[in-house]
Symmetry: C2
Subunit: 156 residues, 2 copies
């Protein structure tokens, strides 16, 4: 069962080389990506760029969908929509989870055991909590995490 | 007419506070995000993080969808899927365009005249070409562009 199904939402995983999509209806559609204040700085949200090397399970869109949704929920986020695309012949996956607090995206290169993930979260979420959930699936030998604060309000 | 409609693809823009999605079937589904080599460096792709301040048109998902799709095509990319979510009551928009060469995402805060965009493109695309197309719609007074090279191959 995939993550959206576990959450009682509809998701589909057709065969290779198809575009599939899981629009999610939710009663809780209020915006949750308000600006935050941390260590005296006001900003829109934290954007993690995560490069994974020596990773596995990079050619399985169902597992990746499940894991990214679990990662989002673990970080405290609300899922609005997920969409994953499985490329052939090399089996790479591109996908995104749209959140009430921004998004998570992934692009994988199985032939290089490489994946590029970005996790952008606002509000009370902690995107760093999403990383270990992904690491359980991908088992990357090397993780490079680059953190950017988006929308930093410059004090006058 | 929105961008996907102009391209002969199906897209929908329902009223506020609804999730909508434009899955796109394409005959050309081959992967286009192969690693590139530039100035002696080999890497997966270029990821631009663009913060827009003093911007307009941040509460119109149809216009934003159209503009991001036009920006993607201008940069040389192939659109696989687009999805935009319109929040109420403050009118913010979150959306993503999934590309054969990675993705473009946007999150807007109309109440602050702020938008956070990221443009991740691989292969022969030039993500910098997408920025002026967006600027035509958003008319930002200040643009902060942060460029990251994802998946840099370390030479041994």
């Amino acid at each position: 069962m995939n993550a959206l199904a576990q959450l009682g939402m509809v998701s589909e995983h057709p065969s290779n080389n198809q575009t599939f999509s899981a629009p999610v209806s939710s009663d809780d559609e209020e915006r949750k990506d308000y600006f935050v204040e941390k260590n005296g700085e006001k900003f829109a949200g934290t954007h993690l760029l995560v490069d994974l090397w020596g990773a596995t399970n990079l050619d399985d869109p169902a597992k990746i969908d499940q894991t990214l949704c679990e990662a989002a929920v673990t970080a405290g986020a609300t899922i609005l929509h997920s969409h994953f695309h499985h490329f052939t012949p090399n089996g790479g996956v591109s996908g995104v989870v749209v959140l009430a607090e921004s998004h998570i995206s992934i692009h994988t290169w199985p032939e290089r055991n490489f994946a590029a993930v970005d996790i952008f979260m606002c509000g009370a979420c902690d995107p760093h909590l999403a990383v270990p959930v992904m690491q359980r699936l991908f088992q990357a030998k090397r993780l490079e995490v680059n953190e950017e604060r988006r929308g930093r309000v410059v004090k006058k």
